[in-house]
């Protein structure tokens, strides 16, 4: 009856498919004309639309840096919003080129799933947030509490381990997405919300009423090196993503910013010259031209600029640099040298 319509509509369907076979990830991206970046899309500070509907945030800036390094244009990125459950499969299946979505590097993810973590962008850890009016000052006092968390993350496992180790009883309430979880926590359905500290800071910044009514407890119960992931089938693409990230960290160390990057090309420091491609041909080794780092830094600034702009103490999230300060400033942020 409507079979011809079926045909026509399936032609439409084919138009939606982005299928093309080619050898390297970089070539595919260049051919496509844009980078497919897996992001959260709903977490303010990390990746969320700004007032103009443009994606912005800490996670987003790394994709923008990669896009700038590849295309000389930070905006040639399509952000694919993913839930935490979907993100690894999306990367595995080639739906995205790079996953920059507050994803923890773990051995099972790195070794068993065909994924590789190219670089750690922030050292995070799982913590607890409570309403101050409960009068709780330590996570060890949480016996019997109802705990809100989200499915599809390590947090469920860490939470179980923490409560079992401390011989405490608790009631997990597990949600599929953060907006229900947040609503449940703020309505008092749960006493505690557990997530990565950065995530908690974001939720607290958006508390209905006063963010200062909520406190993040001192205990950090896990190591969460949030990292950028790529598929492990393309070593060249892995290197590109890793070194673009390292370039941004090195830029902070060398005092290169978005504003002064052009001027810094004149610098006599050989390390700066190598990074900015004035000397040597390091860019070509990752399939780009030698001024790749100039483009990346020029587009998004160095690591410190990215951090402060999106999640730093002057942003709504108010996250301290803490252990994420440079190694030379007492933190653990340490990027391998560009040489």
């Amino acid at each position: 009856m409507k079979s011809w319509k079926l045909l026509a509509a399936s032609a439409l369907g084919v138009a939606l498919m982005a299928g093309n076979a080619s050898a390297s990830t970089l070539d595919t991206i260049k051919e496509r004309g844009k980078l497919l970046c897996g992001s959260n899309g709903k977490t303010a500070g990390f990746s969320a639309p700004d007032a103009n509907g443009k994606m912005a945030g800490f996670d987003v800036d790394f994709c923008r840096a990669i896009s700038a390094a590849v295309f000389n244009d930070p905006d040639k990125v399509e952000y694919v919003p993913l839930t935490s459950k979907q993100r690894l499969t999306a990367l595995q299946s080639g739906e995205i080129d790079v996953l920059s979505r507050t994803t923890t590097m773990t051995m099972s993810r790195d070794a068993g799933m065909g994924l590789s973590f190219a670089a750690t962008t922030i050292y995070d850890g799982q913590g607890f947030m409570v309403a101050k009016k409960l009068g709780v000052t330590s996570a060890k006092e949480l016996d019997g509490a109802a705990v809100c968390t989200r499915t599809g993350t390590n947090t469920e496992l860490n939470m179980a381990d923490f409560f079992n180790k401390n011989k405490m009883d608790y009631k997990p309430v597990v949600f599929e997405d953060r907006s229900e979880e947040r609503a449940a926590f703020f309505s008092g359905r749960c006493d505690v919300m557990t997530a990565d500290l950065t995530g908690l800071a974001g939720v607290r910044a958006n508390a209905p009423g006063n963010p200062d009514d909520y406190a993040i407890l001192p205990e950090v119960i896990s190591k969460e090196p949030l990292s950028i992931a790529v598929r492990s089938d393309d070593a060249e693409w892995f290197s590109l993503v890793r070194w673009v990230t390292y370039a941004l960290i090195n830029a902070e160390e060398m005092g290169i910013t978005a504003a002064n990057v052009e001027k810094m090309k004149m610098s006599q420091d050989p390390a700066i010259q190598r990074l900015l491609g004035v000397n040597g041909n390091l860019g070509e080794k990752i399939g780009l031209s030698n001024d790749w780092a100039v483009r990346a830094i020029g587009a998004v600034g160095n690591y410190s600029e990215i951090f402060e702009r999106n999640i730093g103490t002057n942003s709504p999230l108010k996250i301290e640099r803490g252990i994420n300060a440079l190694w030379s400033d007492g933190g653990i942020l340490y990027a391998a040298p560009v040489r």
């Binding site: 409507k2 026509a8 299928g19 499969t89 299946s93 609503a183």
Partner: protein, 379 residues
């Protein structure tokens, strides 16, 4: 012995007035003791609920937007304060957020495109209800509408900016998914229903297995499958858009239900029709197309429409795999913006109203159509 009544029988009382307000009141409210009690209970319940509801909904409600133009955060603060002071429904939420509710994350400057798409789709849906248009050419018009809608939404042609599907959302997404689901699941369902009644054992078994398997599992598991498993079953260099995957899932799901509904129609056709078609020397497809399907589809119209309504409602499940249909956009409208979080009722009311209007409209249209098509022959 004869009994002779010498007295005239007493006259019977005049019949109770069976028209007018009194009669209506009596027969509708007080016809029996039970009814009187029920009336009292209902009236008491309404008395308890209605005044508060009317007050919340209309009297104490806030409709306006307050605050200086262009200053989003100030507008939010002042409007929310006004809403809280009035104490009723905060319809200002709709005034402030209607664009997001309707079009999701679609770029602000380009939102005329999804709007036109919505008008096109709704217009075509309404036009499809007019029997005068039931003509093969109309299918071409539908096809053209779909192509135009797609180009409008996606852009990249005729100077329209390209908008990736990850930014599509709101009403056009819900409507588009519903229309495409029907467009594919109906023909697919017909084939499945014919297959299930085929005499070819293999085909029949295949169709039965498909239909029963799909009908036995929840849509959410099919969507999970489309979302997580489909990529694993595809060659590595082929990726299918997330939206399209969800759409495929819904179509696969709806087809099985369509097939069962159409099978009901096929079964209702008297055997004589098949035999007559055979006697005329028609081939299988001729008989199916000219004799069987027109009658079967006519009988199946009411359940087909219920299936369409079900599909329309079910499409809201894409929320769980993170797509932004109307349900998700109305939810995000209040939940992602802290000052607005107290006004969840208003947001969900908008979502419910959108779904209600479409579903209620379709179900009443189908009841009307059923009467129109009733030729008096009972199959």
């Amino acid at each position: 012995m004869a009994i002779i009544n010498s007295q005239p029988l007493p006259s019977r009382p005049a019949p109770v007035n069976n028209s007018g307000l009194i009669f209506w009141l009596r027969s509708n409210f007080f016809s029996s003791p039970l009814n009187t009690v029920l009336t009292a209970v209902c009236l008491y319940g309404l008395w308890q609920v209605l005044p508060g509801l009317v007050d919340w909904f209309f009297l104490s409600a806030t409709w306006a937007i307050y605050g200086p133009e262009g200053n989003a955060s100030e507008i939010t603060n002042q409007t929310v304060a006004a809403c809280k002071e009035a104490g009723g429904a905060c319809w200002s939420l709709i005034s402030v957020k209607h664009r997001f509710m309707l079009f999701g994350f679609y770029p602000q400057d380009e939102q005329w495109r999804p709007m036109v798409t919505c008008f096109l789709l709704v217009g075509m849906m309404m036009a499809s209800g007019i029997r005068r248009f039931w003509h093969p050419v109309f299918l071409l018009v539908w096809l053209a509408t779909l192509v135009v809608s797609f180009v409008l939404m996606a852009g990249g042609l005729f100077g329209l900016t390209e908008v990736p599907t990850s930014k599509w959302g709101g009403l056009p997404l819900t409507l588009g998914m519903a229309v495409l689901s029907v467009a594919f699941s109906l023909p697919f369902g017909i084939l499945l229903a014919l297959g299930r009644r085929s005499e070819m054992n293999f085909i029949r078994t295949l169709c039965i297995c498909y239909i029963e398997l799909i009908r036995a599992v929840p849509l959410i598991s099919i969507l999970f499958m489309a979302s997580f498993l489909l990529p694993l079953f595809m060659p590595e260099d082929l990726t299918i858009n997330k939206l399209l995957r969800a759409q495929i899932g819904i179509i696969l799901f709806a087809s099985a239900y369509m097939a069962e509904v159409i099978r009901g129609g096929l079964q209702a056709i008297p055997k004589g029709q098949y035999e007559a078609a055979d006697a005329m020397g028609l081939t299988y497809w001729q008989a199916t197309r000219k004799i069987i399907l027109p009658q079967a589809l006519k009988i199946s119209i009411p359940p087909i429409v219920s299936t369409i309504i079900g599909t329309f409602k079910d499409s809201s499940l894409v929320v769980i795999i993170g797509l932004f249909d109307v349900l998700n956009t109305v939810r995000i409208a209040f939940s992602a913006d802290p000052p607005w979080t107290p006004f969840y009722m208003e947001s969900y009311f908008v979502g419910a109203a959108v779904f209600f209007i479409f579903c209620f409209g379709m179900s009443h249209y189908s009841q009307w159509l059923e009467k129109q098509l009733d030729t008096g022959h009972k199959a």
